[in-house]
């Protein structure tokens, strides 16, 4: 599946792989641990935010928050 920003598709794929594994193997089992995908997500996010601004997509009421709101920051 592609990203809205063509340049972001590869970053998206890497993040998706990490997230899908964490979601099924850790999160759904009720285990709480540090999010292993934080760095991948941040890189991917920066790319997507830029693409959305460039394409002028009107997303209302959305603040671009980091992935670790509400959790302790994981050290990288």
């Amino acid at each position: 599946m592609n990203s809205v920003g063509e340049a972001c598709t590869e970053l998206k794929r890497e993040y998706d792989q990490c997230f899908n594994r964490w979601f099924a193997e850790t999160f759904l089992r009720g285990e709480r641990g540090a999010d292993p995908c934080g760095q991948l997500f941040r890189r991917y996010q920066l790319c997507v935010q830029k693409a959305i601004k460039e394409k002028d997509i009107p997303i209302e009421g959305l603040e671009f928050m980091g992935p670790s709101k509400g959790k302790a920051e994981s050290s990288s």
């Binding site: 809205v4 671009f64 992935p67």
Partner: protein, 183 residues
Amino acid sequence: HPWETVTTAAMQKYPNPMNPSVVGVDVLDRHVDPSGKLHSHRLLSTEWGIPSIVKSLIGTCRTRTYVQEHSVVDPVKKTMELKSSNISFTNLVSVDERLVYKPHPHEPHKTVLTQEAIISVKGVSLSSYLEGLMANTISSNANKGREALEWVINKLNAEIEEFAASARGTMRNSMAAAAFVEK
């Protein structure tokens, strides 16, 4: 299918052959809230198969529609709620959908989905025919949604099978190699 399977598939719903118009999915934000629920804000880009000559005249940005989706997954209560609404450049018609996935109350290996859609139109009175048409489309889409998840679940199971088969093959090879070396 059990709730965990359905929820995992729902997070990886696209691409699938039942929704060919979805051409892009992006995560705008994702975080776990203090109560342990996972919130995701996603942007879906859709392209409605408009002939390319029309696209070249009016430009792709006018033929793309976008859907904003907010999902909340509670792994303790086992609920997944999705709310989506379309974003369009004209903002005349908006369709808001709400889906909730929960384990079946009497059959634990099954999942129940409840789905509702709210259609609103700004400043234009829709004839009842058009409203009926949209309602029909939305309810047949609901069926399509279920088929789409079935397809994703089968695909994920096939990937797991493939991985297990290749792992078995690798183990056999290394055992045979070790036995050969011993001799």
